[in-house]
Amino acid sequence: MNKEHKDTKTKKFGMVIDLDLCTGCGACMVACMAENNVPFKEDESNKLDSITWMRVYKLTNGKSFPDTDICYIPRPCQHCGGIGDHGHSPCVSVCPATATDYDHETGIVSQIYTRCFGCRYCMAACPYHARYFNWWDPVWPGDMKESLSPNVSPRMRGVVEKCSFCFHRYQQAKDRAYANGRREIEENEYQTACTQACPAGAITFGDLNNPEHQVHKLVNPDPKHCGRPKNPKAFRLLERLQTNPKVYYISSREWVRRAGDNYIKNESKQIA
């Protein structure tokens, strides 16, 4: 890399979701759809072909009445760093046409709809089911096309799409900064649509590499272990697979933290 141009420090954008605060209201899902021109169709009750970049899962602790408990887990794309956090996310390394890549400047996993030819290998590779295929042509009836945002290109049938951490907002923030003669942007200048909308304030977004940022303070990622959280209440989904996601969850409930990964029965230690 040309050193003169590497004037921005490498960033690693990540998200922390406080599951104690999350109410499962679904505002993040809709904020995301509205922001990113996500299509909708007549019947969306089959969740296996319903495009929701951000999906809120409902978990139960499996106990019977009245000891039952529920928890909601919002699941955007986890923007995995892959084994060793080198950017070989499960999906990026398998894409045959380089339609998705890992941006080492931001840690964000992209998806280029016009490059994708729809082989769906990335979907098979993603353990979080964060990738969605456009089985249908998107249709916005009546005047609904009017509400489409020009900042995100609508996807055509036959390609895969997923959460981009609202990358266009990063671009816009940079453009604003450039217009003011700045190279760097502030923490609050780049926030994803779901973070901004969450009425419970459960989502925090920022640069995990920056100790000044809220996300860093909340989970205290351990650089020696690919960003594994040092905060004992924080966890990442499927930590054991070494996908090294950049989405962290916080819960004060033990059963919720345990529901974030697979354990063999009677396996007591949380993570080796």
């Binding site: 030819f117 054991r240 697979n262």
Partner: protein
Amino acid sequence: MDSALIPEGVKRCPLWKFALGIIIVGVVLLWGVYAMFLCWFKGLNQTNMNDAYGFAIWIWADLAVIALGGGAFFTGFLRYIVGKDELKNIINCTIVIGFICYSSALLILAIDIGQPLRGWFIFWHANVHSMLTEVAFCLSCYFAVLTIEYLPLILENRQTDKIPFFHNLSHNLHEVMAVFAATGAFLSFFHQGSLGGVAGVLFGRPFAFREGVLIWPWTFFLFTWSAAAYGPCFSLLVTRIIEKITKKQLVKQNVIELLAKISGWMIATYIVAKIIDTWYWAAVTAPSNGFTLLDFYSGNALYGIWILVLEIVICGIVPACILITEKGRKNKLAFTTAIILGVVGVSLNRWVMVLQVMAVPVLPFESWNLYYPSWQEVATTVLPVAYGIILIMISYRYLPIFPQEKELNPIES
């Protein structure tokens, strides 16, 4: 009517019978073609695939036909590289089968992708880290090789052979066929392997993920090995079926037995490797991700542990035992059972490595996914079968596929 095109010294059924057969299979073919166009013009919503089943019956069919077509490269390898000369009497048949299998695989891939007109991106914008890229390159190259190998057969047709240019071309091609066979074997080693790698590299899917050597997971080697082992079974099965239909012996028993014996030993060694792989995976790889073997097999009845038993014991150990013993090979029933089990076994393995990978939940709060294909998917999967039958019918009728046919079935004049 078409006797001028029929190889000399052999007898073929009347044209009307042949035409009738073609028409019947052709109807099935047209059904498949109709479904294919539906998928192209209306999109993949015509299938029952979904976001959990991005890979489904088509990818299975792809992997399966390529494994079954593995007879071509392995027989070629045995004949030209190892020097098992007797196999020249069955190699044409394996080449036709290989050609059918590989062209089918490419066709299915062209239907399977969401944007067929962008299919060439896989070459132009290739990501060298992707197993699928490796598959695409090797598959296309080997398909080209198979076409070159198939070409001399066409040129050997009585009429084309009369054209000196073609005659010479055919002759020259035969001379260099060893080079192509070697290239084919080399390419096949890679793409059979990379097809295995497709599932094996998925470190986000503990059911599929295998540790490996160099850049390849173990499934890479297992797939090559199993294709080489089971591919000949399919070639033998097809030969057997043609023999049954034509009511003629077409290949001498010693040739059949030689191939069967090699196949048997290959299966035997493969199954040992497979058992070791399964054991290591169940004991080390999967538990490190928080799964026990039974977690993968206890979600629903369709994917019970029986599937593993069927694959390894019934479709692995059993055919291996039959084919490596002379008694087994000589017993017609046992032999047929063995090659059928072999074909089922390798198809089942590919099924598991595609569909069960999708079915097993990874997130603890997700549940098992089940999937059944839509008629469009079935039709497009049957399409290559129909196409294959037609191509075999034509090839058998007009081309000297079985060099020993004349000798084994002298025409009484």
